[in-house]
Assembly symmetry: D2
Homo-oligomer: 153 residues x 4
């Protein structure tokens, strides 16, 4: 899925991040209290890419031991936000305009890993995708595509 | 949008609900602890339609006084689940396979109303849509379409 | 699904159309040759609402007598474009940024009716939904939500 | 986006295709006449992965020289169908139940390449994603996620 026939991804995606993990985590604490309360951890942050981890918490469970949908959606949303700010820096006011999630497998009661990358970062709109995994398990749990509206500079 | 030219909605949608509000709320308590913790209230429950209300809680807020995305997605998901069980009864094991949300306006710090209706209830798949409002305000906040996979009987 | 508890839809949606059917059909002919080739007919055009009809053509068929997906997607896209221009007038350069379709039932080999309405018309983004029917049949065939990016004035 | 932290993609995806390109192209000719008319070419077909090419045709153009949305959606749909049949063989009756496309950049007037991979192939539902490119250009034009309903064996 990396467009090898076309010579690989955009060169933009290999540039350095425009925000540090510490700066991003401060923004989450200030502007996304729900995500901060879940103790989402930013593992890696690049220009248009990010890896986040959500530690396991029994309160996230659905019966049967699976992690509830809104938790997965919330994690994915923050992961794309991280990848976006990695690309544009700490621009205030970017908001999710659309999020579409496909639930593929039931998560186990273990930490979640979110791998996000931006597909496009335009002046007004940015689109990113996220893959969710149970930590240490190669089977994708959920796939998310989301659009962010970027306020005029 | 109600297909007037085509003679109105499906007659199936005017039948009685196959589950009572009390039965539905018991299922939510047992199987969706997150939704139960949020104290989502089922206001109306018909065959393929439901109205739910989420009381305002300061913990749901994002800075700027708006209600966070995962809360809106979670409420919408439960509302479609209600409309679905209204159509098929207390069938165990139905799970969301896809959810797509468009955030249209920032919610005010007030209770949310979710109006759900099923677009199709098949043997294996059901599709529903939800409109979210701030209570007492006619402007739609968010629009959700979700698909549920129904286990084989 | 019309938010009765909340007092009905936005008042904006009851205003007159900002474009005539003739003007809209001229724009389609100039800018959407595929849609023009299919002979899509605009039946009604209001501020943020539109009804379009696609006459039956054997070339649209899939085996089994059903109408192929891209035809349904194309019709829905044009219907939202009509509803949008009904709301904002003949603004050049609006383009679809996202389109999500749920196929609910197999269309019969008969004309299709698309009923579109805008859910939001903002300065930069507009979101609309479309219901597709076989002419004269109340069962919804497909449901579409699409986002249009509106160029800066 | 390849889940490196989780040890790579599913091993299932590296198995051989359960259908040949010739068999797949025969199915397209018989069951998707629109796609056959467009002369879509299957370049590669593996278990859960496929690469398709759509030659440039002036009839696909929108003014401004860009390729119209329904053409892109149709190509993506066929590409996921190819990747799915690569995984399950020539199972009759699989149909698209949901397709969501994000248009990222305007295509140039040149051939299109679609790179599809399945994210999940279950007994009843399969989910795949597609990336669209202009041939020879690494910038993604559009990203599609689609769900197929698989008939009971």
């Amino acid at each position: 899925m990396n467009g090898k026939e076309n010579g690989g991804g955009s060169s933009r995606m290999t540039e350095d991040a425009r925000i540090t993990i510490a700066e991003f985590e401060r923004i989450v604490e200030e502007s996304l209290p729900l995500a901060a309360a879940w103790k989402i951890e930013t593992r890696a942050l690049h220009h248009g890419r990010a890896t986040l981890r959500l530690g396991f918490d029994a309160g996230f469970l659905r019966p049967g031991g699976t992690i509830s949908g809104p938790i997965q959606m919330g994690l994915a949303d923050v992961a794309i936000f991280a990848a976006l700010l990695g690309a544009i820096g700490p621009v205030p006011g970017a908001v999710t305009s659309n999020l579409s999630i496909n639930f593929l497998r039931r998560p186990k009661p273990s930490p979640l890993i979110a791998e996000a990358r931006m597909l496009k970062v335009g002046r007004k709109l940015a689109v990113g995708e996220v893959e969710l995994y149970s930590e240490g398990d190669p089977e994708m749990l959920a796939h998310v595509v989301a659009t962010y509206a970027i306020p005029a500079a």
